[in-house]
């Protein structure tokens, strides 16, 4: 097997048994990037020099007797997570020259665990999008079909893992930005419980919804990354002061007696028949392994999209006020501070970023606050209560991750509302703050991957890992690789 076909767990095993060194795996990963990334375009920045230095360091640490599942493992990082000394652009012209003076906590923890950062992956500008087409540096292509999108906004990280550019990746998920691209690229992605992972050093989009999370080829791979990045951080006041359970120990728990809910509101018109069929088959498979399946109701589902686009854009309009051309990034000179800020933002931001800032500014503006922003926050409460009620009856809720498989580049680019609908199944977990896992559950007739989403109770990531691991161990989806 070629190194780029390995899972993180396999690569980690080879490092532990000294079958391979980190320098060898890192060289192989960089070679794979050089050969295939000109077609995929998963990376904004590749840091070959930094990666090889980190790999040498990891090999030296192992030589001194250190061990650990990530020691010497090459990974990729979404380019909205700050990396000390390594350009962090958010795929925006606004931050094109920006070099952070610190690491995001999630990045610092991966480095401390010995992971090797290969580079920074492409995203929809400031994570605003569902296709990675809104990048100032051009779109990323889906490794399964280069004419199609990888999903978004963490499309670069999902495509990197699918293509074998490293053995795992970090992304961020505000409305589905880890899970939807994971589904469209045929890999595993987790949106952790809000507060489970520090947001320190993640360039903020919507602070009450954003969460950093892992991509892997398998559930075990994602769990290993979660183990390293999860946990309280004094630098993030919304990080939860709770102990992190042992995820590897949870993996073999199985699904016997697990109560799985199918929300009737999620199997409606607009969902591709092959996607609905694959998800139902996957749930039947969980039942065959001992899970109990029943229907549940999430009656406020139809309002999730509206609530999300009002709250997320309102928070974004506030968070992105900092980009004024004074302290960092791009500046378009003009006479006067306000004129300069207005021109800087006109030239530095792309169309989707401007659109969302404008929508959020409107939702917060005088006279409309109660009708839009406050009402959306109230409906958010009702959506969270829907899940509380469902989780009194079941342990996990199973849904499709995305209503369709990967769509063609350009297909939805001119119609923001249609594009927003591709997040329709993922948004609710962000609004309710719940953990949600996407994993492959089949392929459509065109050979494109389909994702199954499992949503759990707050801080019950171990239940999701156990169910996901049981499912993927009984099927061969995780062993398929795109022909690149």
């Amino acid at each position: 097997m070629e190194p780029h076909e390995l899972t993180l767990t396999q690569a980690s095993g080879m490092l532990a048994s000294r079958e391979a060194s980190s320098v060898e795996l890192t060289r192989a990963a960089l070679g794979r990037v050089e050969a295939a990334d000109p077609r995929v375009r998963a990376f904004v920045t590749v840091d070959a020099e930094g990666a090889l230095a980190a790999a040498k360091d990891a090999d030296a640490r192992r030589g001194r007797g250190e061990a650990g599942p990530l020691l010497g493992v090459p990974v990729a990082i979404k380019d909205n997570l700050s990396t000390r000394g390594l350009r962090t652009t958010c795929s925006s012209r606004m931050l094109e020259p920006y070099v952070p003076p610190f690491d995001a906590t999630a990045v610092a923890r991966l480095k401390a665990a010995g992971a090797v950062v290969l580079g920074k992956t492409n995203l929809d500008e400031f994570a605003f999008g569902s296709s990675t087409e809104n990048s100032a540096f051009g779109p990323t292509h889906n490794p399964w079909d280069l004419a199609r999108v990888p999903g978004g906004s963490s499309g670069g990280s999902a495509a990197a893992v699918a293509a074998g550019f490293g053995f795992g990746a970090l992304g961020s998920d505000t409305g589905g930005s880890i899970r939807q691209p994971a589904a469209l690229c045929g890999v595993v992605g987790l949106k952790p419980t809000y507060g489970r992972v520090s947001r320190y050093g993640l360039v903020a989009f919507a602070s009450s919804l954003d969460q950093v999370g892992p991509f892997g080829r398998t559930v075990a791979d994602a769990a290993a990354l979660s183990q390293a990045i999860d946990g309280h951080d004094p630098l993030d006041s919304t990080s939860a002061p709770r102990a992190v359970p042992d995820y590897a120990a949870a993996l073999p728990r199985g699904v016997k007696g697990l109560k799985v809910g199918l929300p009737r509101e999620y199997f409606v018109s607009g969902i591709a028949p092959e996607v609905a069929a694959a998800v139902r088959t996957a749930v039947e498979s969980l039942a065959a392994m001992g899970a109990e399946v029943r229907e549940v109701g999430l009656p406020h589902t139809e309002h999730c999209l509206s609530v999300y686009y009002l709250l997320a854009t309102a928070e974004a309009s506030s968070n992105l006020a900092r980009f004024d051309g004074v302290r960092y990034g791009f500046r378009a000179p003009a006479s006067g501070v306000v004129a300069q800020a207005m021109r800087t933002r006109a030239e530095g931001f792309g169309p989707e970023v401007k659109r969302r800032i404008m929508l959020g500014t409107y939702a917060l503006s005088s006279g409309y606050y109660d009708a839009y922003y406050r009402r959306a926050q109230q409906v958010r409460t009702l959506i969270a209560r829907d899940f509380e009620a469902a989780f009194r009856e079941v342990d996990v809720v199973a849904t499709p991750t995305s209503p369709t498989t990967a769509f063609r580049l350009g297909e939805k680019a001119d119609d923001p509302l249609t594009m927003y609908l591709s997040d329709i199944f993922t948004i609710s977990a962000n609004l309710a703050g719940l953990p949600a896992l996407s994993l492959p559950c089949g392929f459509d007739a065109a050979g494109l991957p389909i994702g199954l989403q499992l949503i759990g109770r707050a801080f019950e990531e171990p239940t999701l890992f156990a169910a996901g691991h049981a499912y993927e161990s009984a099927h061969g989806w995780k062993d398929r690789r795109p022909a690149l």
């Binding site: 920006y98 809000y194 302290r327 006479s335 306000v338 401007k354 404008m358 409906v379 509302l417």
Partner: protein, 95 residues
């Protein structure tokens, strides 16, 4: 409750974004489409429902008031588009 061109100009000014006439008509159409979709929220009965700002049961989070090393002045200024004498440099504010 749709937006007018005047509203779009007002919002762009609040958001500190210079827009062209073409952008004004594009955003007018697209923002109205999103707001039309959001109008469905008016049908939801929210009487007596408290708003959710975030889902964690946390109130204020305090740390001990102890000095710690932050960024140095050099680090803080390293990404500035324009700087002078250890400060960020901006256009003249007072005439």
């Amino acid at each position: 409750m749709g937006l007018s061109e005047k509203d779009v100009d007002h919002v762009a000014r609040l958001a500190r974004i210079e827009i062209t006439p073409e952008e004004r008509s594009l955003y007018l159409r697209q923002l109205n489409a999103v707001l039309e979709h959001a109008a469905g929220l008016a049908r939801v009965d929210v009487s007596g429902t408290p708003p959710t700002a975030h889902i964690l049961p946390l109130r204020n989070v305090w740390r001990a008031d102890e000095p710690a090393q932050g960024l140095t002045r050099e680090q803080a200024l390293a990404n500035a588009p324009d700087k002078s004498k250890g400060c960020f440099r901006v256009p003249r504010i007072l005439e």
